[in-house]
Amino acid sequence: MLNPQRSLSELPKMSAASQVERAVLEEEFNWLLKEEVHAVLKQLQDVLKEASRRFSMPTPGLESQLKQENFILGSSTMDQVKGVLTLQGEALTQADINLKVAKSSQVLHFQFREDKMWKLQQDARNHVNQALWLLGSRDESYHFKTGAEVNKLMDAVMLQLTRARNRLTTPASMTLPELATSGLMKMFTPPMPGDVMVNFYINLSKLCLTVYQLHVLPPNTTKNYRPAGSSVLHNPGAMFELNNNRFEVSHVHKVECVVPWLNDTLVFFTISLQLCQQLKDKISVFSSFWNYRPF
């Protein structure tokens, strides 16, 4: 019964199935509940533990255990922005940003204050841990009695996994004022000038750094002002209002770098989601068997 396609095609005949066939089906279903479900749960736990390990936080005193990785963010086409980011687990512990402002040839240099770090993916880690906790509550000794029970567990696990994966695949879209007031702006030394904003986020397996250069719109400008909505990446020309000042984005620089372990976790999430769905599909093959009522 490992191949759901084959068994699915047998279903229509089931209303005419003989007693023997029904007995075999029942036996097969019991095997699924007793053996196969636990095998899948075990596999899921292994995969997710591996994923969760990538997210582990630097705990005080044990910092040395978690290796620091440096990522150089840049692009081949432009050299206005260069960043060196240090990732320790899911936290950005150091950031070095070099910014070449267009109008002057002066290079601005910012880095994180000593006491600060920026958490990139707390939610994904928490969702994975919740999924692990759910899986852990049903260990080998637990005997599943109905398919509905397995489906319920899988639904709960899949919900957490989908959320976790979505955190990585769809970065939060923010409005420009939200970005300007976020804690990120206050993390740098020397402090960011008022006309520069930065944003870090994860998109799929890439660590992205966006730098916005702003200019203040004069109060009596003839340009019609329209505030930009929320977006992951704002385009030049986007406008917003902050503290009674109107700003317009003049330049956007986006640099990115692939983080190999993020790619791994994405793969882990995808594999576990597929495992869950396959288990649900296997259960559903029998659904008309348990719901069967002769007429």
Binding site: T146, A148, N151, K152, A156, T162, Q277, N291
Partner: protein, 945 residues
């Protein structure tokens, strides 16, 4: 008000109780109501007597995902509000008394816990909701507007909060919030920050008895801390693999702790002075003695997920201390926790027996008569008690017919109002077998999972075609007029889950297709014209959640449950793209921009209903604006009868039968939505079409044309013209029924306050042809944004108990048939009064409008009928006087009083009005009851519901 039109739901629940897998529960402060939320997004309200008997009263619909938490949202006892949050970020504020949705909102983040807190700002008291969930720190939300006000943040390791508690201290006059994050850091707001580290915390609670201790329950141990300096006072580890999930103080020196699988234990803490002085010395040493262990249910193997356990104690009379557990079978169990220890030595823990327990299904089973389903009389199986379940249904408003697919594979076509009359009302139809006349289509080998009538959605389809899908993997096309099976499609490798109609602007080939979705994650385009499958998009890895269209590009867009999007080319059947992440979201939203009407969420019936409701009311508004004027104009200006044939038939439906299920595995229950305005407009339109008896001689030809018009089909008209003989016409009269009048009859019979005035009841039965209901009818209330409250059939049990208590008499169900309608809540009463008065007013204005069947009409005089309608417009106000308000219900505010004085039991006034009513029935009317004035009064009452 809901939408802007008056729509009243009536529910036929059927014998199977809806699935209610309890995910959260709450007991109101007065211990007369229990609220439970379930994994499918419904909320159930249970009534509880002081003797701890429980009875489900109503079910609230509106959330589209699992309910994660429930909390009270008002401090005062006269206003009983609760707030519910679901796992997809929806928050909703409900009135417990009538199930009205007061406010709702949707946030990007999901809450897992909400606590109500009353802020005192100067002399003003403002309700706040402290929420924690899948976001860092604590969110503070306004308890009336549900607006996010601010966050409680901490600088040190901000993370999700897994549990929190509010500490009120009389000593310092300062309230603090104590919370534990998922990483195990205990945080305290207002006084200090970050105190200690606890692993895997499940629950935190504050001792309200001594106000000096704090109980923290983790899955592996529970601990008691001092609430002032957070020193550890006591710690107990769990034994043999049990995972603690929560706990609470039940007295100054006792705690109750419960496990994931539903067992609970009561521990006695050491004498407080003693263990306080021992701080730091014996942390793990002495385990406090176990006083009680709570007896576990024996049949819990049927549970499909862990139960929810909570402890509540009453601060007012009755001083209950209740441990409540809700499980996946929709069962509530109550244990009354005693204040003193058992007498036997404490070496073995005494078992505490369950005080009261009931499941939703049990309460349905106890009902007599049983709760009826829409076609129960046609679904009885010989030798079996339970009727065949209806598994899929669709209502065809143009024909007034309901199509019901059943679990045995047959499909029944039945006139909807007539079958509803059989189920709800008493009458001569009870003697007929197999009534009403129906048609049975047989072809599916097992359960029918979906039915679709494409012509209803787009006129481009043949009006004969009906399409059905089943668990036998087949899609069958039927001719509903002949009952013939036209074609069987067998293209899918799984149960058919959904049938959809492609949008208008697709290619002509696709326009004659229906789109079928199956549980093997495949989508097919089945051409009804070519009788073949023109495209099969299969091998999606995950279940299909949404189907969207890009007709201009000839694309079919399939959204799967994992967030991936597949773009298929309809013409060639080639997979164009498969994307995820932001691109997927962009593709889906681009489809919405092009054609907002094609949105079709497949996952949840509640979503569909909600969309239908909101769309319907919008369409209704537009319709009202144009049609109302038209009707009025025609009524005033159309002098000659020739014009009346061109009168457009009012397109908005007076009655809509909507099938609903709370869970995919449930059988259908049916909700009849009566649109009062539409009923009135249809009645008036038909009145305008009918030749006036004074002006026109009863010519058979003309009469037949009017009759055919009601059928609404050209075909019927054509046939009808050929058959003019009087003989056949009388037969037709017997079988063919007037849809609008039947709807009005059903509606008025349900709404009338039976049993108040025997004389009036007699008039209603004999002269007006109304029918008495079998038992109190389950009504519903639609509130903002398509939120809906539906009364469970079991509501009459608690109503009966309540009325018996109030009157001191032993009442039976038949005694309270009419009172159920008016005893529910103010909002419902107002709606019902409005409906009765406006409908009675309309019917009074019509020529000879009675519901007495044509064939047995002894032609009561015009005047007699006219007179008979009158008291119906007055009686409702009497009802309001007679029915005692719900205990703990919304108090009468002066603005809200109908004709009722503040003292509802004023016998003198009551008698006066009664007299007036009877006087009206006996003497000839002086037609100055001025209906417009009555209308006006009621309108002013209706605000805010």
């Amino acid at each position: 008000m809901s939408g802007n039109n008056l729509v009243l739901p009536i529910v036929l629940w059927g014998r199977t109780a809806p699935t209610h897998c309890i995910s959260s529960l709450l007991v109101m402060d007065n211990f007369s109501t229990i609220i439970t939320g379930c994994h499918d997004g419904q909320i159930c309200i249970w009534d509880m007597t002081p003797e701890l008997e429980i009875c489900p009263r109503a079910m609230l619909f509106g959330h589209t995902a699992s309910i994660t938490c429930l909390a009270k949202a008002s401090a005062c006892s006269d206003k009983q509000y609760i707030v519910s949050a679901s796992e997809n970020g929806e928050m909703c504020l409900w009135d417990v008394n009538d199930g009205r949705c007061i406010e709702f909102t949707k946030l990007a983040c999901a809450h897992t816990g909400i606590q109500f807190y009353q802020f005192t700002i100067g002399t003003e008291k403002e309700g706040r909701l402290l929420c924690n969930g899948h976001y860092p720190e604590i969110l503070v939300v306004d308890a009336t507007s549900l607006e996010v006000l601010y966050y409680l943040v901490s600088k040190i390791s901000p993370d999700w909060i897994s549990s929190m508690s509010i500490i009120r201290s009389h000593r310092t006059q300062e309230d603090t919030v104590v919370a534990v994050s998922v990483t195990g850091i205990l945080k305290v707001w207002i006084i200090t920050s970050e105190v200690s580290k606890i692993q895997g915390c499940q629950s935190i609670s504050f001792c309200t008895f001594t106000q000096s201790s704090l109980l923290v329950v983790c899955s592996k141990y529970w601990r008691v801390f001092d609430a002032v300096d957070y020193s550890l006072l006591c710690s107990v580890s769990s034994e043999n693999d049990q995972a603690w999930t929560g706990g609470e103080f039940i007295a100054a020196d006792r705690v109750i702790i419960w496990t994931e699988d539903g067992c609970s234990y009561i521990y006695k803490l050491p004498a407080s002075e003693h263990y306080r002085s021992d701080v730091g010395k014996t942390k793990e040493g002495s385990i406090p003695p176990l006083v009680y262990s709570i007896a576990d249910r024996l049949d819990k193997q049927l549970l499909i997920c862990p139960p929810v356990t909570r402890f509540f104690f009453g601060r007012r009379e009755p001083f209950h201390k209740l441990l409540i557990q809700g499980d996946s079978a929709g069962r509530l169990s109550l244990w009354s926790v005693p204040d003193n220890s058992p007498l036997q030595p404490l070496s073995t823990a005494a078992a505490l027996q369950v005080s009261s327990t009931i499941s939703l299904q049990e309460s349905f089973d106890k009902l007599s008569p049983v709760s009826s389903g829409i076609i129960d009389q046609l679904s009885a199986l010989p030798g079996q008690d339970v009727p065949i379940k209806v598994t899929a249904s669709v209502y065809i408003p143009s024909q007034g017919r309901l199509v019901c697919g059943r679990e045995d594979g047959s499909i029944i076509l039945v006139p909807a109002t007539q079958t509803a009359i059989v189920q709800l009302l008493q009458g001569e139809h009870m003697l007929r077998r197999g009534w009403p006349p129906h048609r049975t289509l047989r072809g599916h080998r097992n359960k029918v999972t979906c039915v679709l009538y494409p012509h209803q959605i787009s006129p481009r389809y043949d009006q004969r075609s009906l399409v059905s899908g089943g668990v036998d993997f087949s899609v069958i096309v039927w001719d509903i007029f002949t009952g013939e099976m036209k074609h069987i499609f067998c293209v899918h490798g799984g149960e058919i889950t959904q049938l959809i109609v492609p949008p208008e602007n697709c290619s002509t080939r696709v326009q004659h297709c229906v789109c079928s979705v199956a549980s093997d994650h495949s989508v097919g385009l089945l051409s009804l014209r070519e009788r073949k499958c023109i495209m099969l998009a299969s091998r999606h890895l995950f279940p299909i959640q949404v189907i969207k269209w890009r007709p201009a590009d000839d694309y079919l867009v399939v959204g799967c449950s994992d967030g991936s999007v597949y773009v298929w080319q309809m013409d060639t059947g080639a997979l164009d793209r498969c994307v995820m992440g932001i691109t997927a979201i962009e593709i889906l939203s681009a489809c919405d921009e092009l054609a907002p009407a094609t949105v079709d969420a497949l996952s949840h019936s509640a979503v569909n209903l909600k969309q239908a409701m909101t769309r319907r009311s919008l369409a209704a508004l537009k319709n009202m604006a144009t049609h109302k004027l038209q009707t009025l104009a025609t009524n005033l200006l159309a002098v000659d009868n020739a014009d009346k044939g061109n009168l457009p038939k009012y397109s908005h439906n007076a009655l809509v039968v909507q099938a609903m299920k709370t869970n995919l595995t449930d059988p259908d229950m049916h909700v009849l939505f009566f649109d009062v305005e539409a009923v009135i407009i249809q009645l008036l339109t038909e009145e305008a079409q009918r030749p006036s008896p004074i002006l026109v001689s009863p010519e058979t030809l003309q009469k037949s044309q009017a009759g055919a018009d009601k059928g609404g089909s050209f075909l019927a008209n054509k046939i009808f013209k050929q058959v003019k003989e009087t003989m056949k016409e009388t037969i037709k009269d017997l079988l063919e029924y007037n849809l609008t009048m039947d709807t009005a009859k059903l509606f008025m019979s349900c709404l009338h306050a039976w049993g108040l005035n025997e004389k009036l009841d007699g008039i209603c039965l004999e002269r007006l042809g109304m029918l008495r209901p079998h038992c109190p009818i389950s009504f519903g209330l639609i509130s903002r944004g398509g939120h809906m409250s539906l009364m469970l059939p079991t509501f009459k049990e608690s109503l009966l108990r309540q009325l018996s208590l109030a009157t001191g008499l032993k009442l039976t169900l038949t005694d309270i048939v009419g009172k159920g309608t008016y005893g529910v809540s103010r909002a419902v009463t107002t709606q019902h009064l409005l409906s009765v008065i406006s409908l009675a007013n309309t019917l009074m204005g019509m020529t000879n409008a009675t519901f007495v069947g044509e064939h047995m009409k002894k032609a009561p005089s015009y005047l007699a009928v006219f007179v008979a309608w009158q008291p119906l417009m007055i009686t409702p106000s009497i009802v309001v006087l007679e029915v005692p308000p719900r205990p703990g219900g919304t108090p009468e505010t002066p603005r809200r009083t109908l004709t009722a004085p503040p003292q509802p039991s004023n016998p003198a006034l009551q008698a006066q009005i009664k007299q007036a009513a009877t006087a009206n029935t006996s003497t000839l009317p002086t037609v100055t009851t001025s209906p417009p004035a009555a209308f006006h009064n009621i309108h002013s009452v209706n605000e805010g519901c």
